[in-house]
Subunit: 269 residues, 3 copies
């Protein structure tokens, strides 16, 4: 991977030799399709099927078990772990710390999606304990960031949170913001229908995990994944007649996504 | 809401000043889209994603956690609660009474969908205990009504059950019947493919809950929701090539539903 | 059923009076549509909605509860049971032995799908205990067969395993192999997109269970179900623009599948 990395310097910020982010996203999708990278996802009940289908459409190989005595074995054979706190039942609550411990012991990247950390005090506390496990990337929305960081989701606040918790913060919204303390990437792709389909954000987090399995720079992996999701969402939005037909169109678009579409459509203000 | 209600008298029965049910349904959809009303749904595992997608397509904001220590917090911040008894595991069994208690304490309407109350004695007993919690609306099919009421689902039996249990009974079938003891509304919309898609009834119950959050007359809210679901089903049935394409077409149709389509298509015998 | 069976001799192997497998598959689909055969499926969380939708599209009536104190009642009223070991939580682990015991006591066929038996030692052990309960059919993929049988999935190894465990082995892959110790059926239908949609194999197992409820020859029931799934997959593959649109197209194709399409497309090398 190091040799490959040396041909793929940072696409972000001012480095003159950086290939653009769209090319990195296309490169990582190609590798997913060739290598069938495994991602273990402990995710919420409403997101499980869509998350698995997004990972399969992107070329990855998902597993989903939430059983505490099996999650470590499934994590250990994967390239990355996703922990999503939605529909947090007793089973998931018991499985999550062991899965995180397995990922850390095996030096696998893991991604935290603190769904609805703003909706219940118990959920927020648990999300904070998870953040202490140093996720490679924290993918969330503005309300969840406010609950965790007790601050407005400005680029500066994201960067400060990333530094304090040794993570990368990937905030999704009309413009996505990805921050690691040194750099901030802005991605302005996407489509309004993405807010009318359940588990779109959850599934985006799964692609962040898949890309983090393949690329050492966590901020670049996260930004490339959000770009791929945003561009696939735009293509789907043009084809869909509403939120129902948007979902299959999104998976079709992600499955067929290539460097040309990514480069032509990327909006990185 | 009271001012708004005074402009929206009962669309049902013989009141001369009643706006028609289609106009009420369109009005409530408009409000959902504007206000993003929250609905907390404790529903079965096969229905969770479709229920969330139906609520999102209609403009509402769903949450779905089944954890006993979180369901009260999620219910308290919602406008209505749905309790669906499908795939009734230990987690749901523990969460349901606390969620119902939260809704009652906060005077939020809650809707009961006693899925498969006819299939296991344990399920029927639990459904009866839930009915004792006085749901705003009980949405079920004929087999479930027979199991709970030990009577054939005639309009008279529905009305008697509604009075005895201080609820509204919304029975779905080729012709839906909604009864509160004083009135009976009949809705003859829908499409045969609705029986070939899992969780259509469950998801209809979720829209009943969303409308009940916005409209004080429970019989009108329930009837308007079933009308919207039936008309969206008819539109989807015309576009679909089978039960697979029916599901996205249904969500598209519900997302785009307006007063013109509701008025033109409503069949209220 | 015996009379009907006598008109439907084995479609397989060299019997001169055997109707072809496509005709048997069409016949069993017709019966499912007429009789609405009940199938109880204890299946993984990501597969529940798709499994229910596949069974409904094929004409069957699914139920899905995983609760240990309800699974026996649901199994007893069904025509067949499916046990799928994906997302094997405590609830499923407790329910599965009681559901199997109920099926055996009632002489109902049951189908085992040992999902990811290759991925965790705990899962493999549990799968072996389930095999000891003599499933009518064991539906799996090559990696799962290797884990359970400690042998390469050759026709001979499948037959030996089937004889040793008094079951039928139905191995899916580019060419499906179904073996009972006397015969081996090969089915070369299907489409590459089937590997890019979650729960396709799980859902195929559910149709095997539905057909086993109606047809005494377990190898013929299994082969007919895999043929129907493979042909529906081919039709869907021709219509789909990717893995997203493949899923609804597959359900549409299965819903409309008839003897003409099955006969024209069957590839039984």
């Amino acid at each position: 991977m190091l040799a490959e990395e040396s041909e793929m310097p940072s696409p972000i910020a001012s480095r003159p030799d950086a290939p653009p982010l769209p090319r990195l996203a296309a490169h990582l999708l190609d590798r997913l399709r060739r290598e069938g990278t495994r991602v273990h996802a402990i995710t919420n009940a409403a997101a499980q099927a869509f998350t698995a289908n997004l990972l399969l459409a992107a070329g990855a190989a998902p597993s989903l078990t939430t059983a505490p005595d099996e999650a470590p074995a499934f994590t250990a054979r994967a390239g990355a772990l996703l922990v999503n706190l939605g529909t947090l039942d007793a089973e998931r609550r018991a499985a999550i710390p062991w899965a995180i411990a397995t990922a850390r012991a095996a030096r696998l990247p893991w991604v935290l999606d603190p769904v609805f950390a703003d909706a219940s005090p118990a959920r927020r506390e648990l999300a904070r304990l998870c953040v202490a496990g140093e996720p490679a990337v924290l993918r969330l929305n503005p309300a969840e960031f406010r609950a965790l960081a007790e601050a407005e989701p400005t680029p500066e606040a994201l960067a400060a949170f990333a530094v304090a918790h040794e993570t990368v913060v990937a905030l999704t919204g009309p413009t996505d913001l990805v921050a690691d303390g040194e750099r901030v990437v802005r991605i302005a792709n996407g489509h309004p229908l993405m807010d009318r389909v359940t588990a779109m954000g959850c599934a985006a987090s799964a692609l962040v995990a898949a890309f983090a399995a393949l690329h050492d720079s966590r901020i670049e992996a996260a930004a490339a994944a959000l770009l791929a999701v945003g561009v696939a969402g735009e293509i789907a939005g043009e084809r869909a007649a509403g939120p129902g037909s948007f979902q299959p169109a999104f998976l079709d678009a992600l499955h067929g996504l290539d460097a040309a579409a990514l480069s032509a459509r990327a909006r990185l203000p």
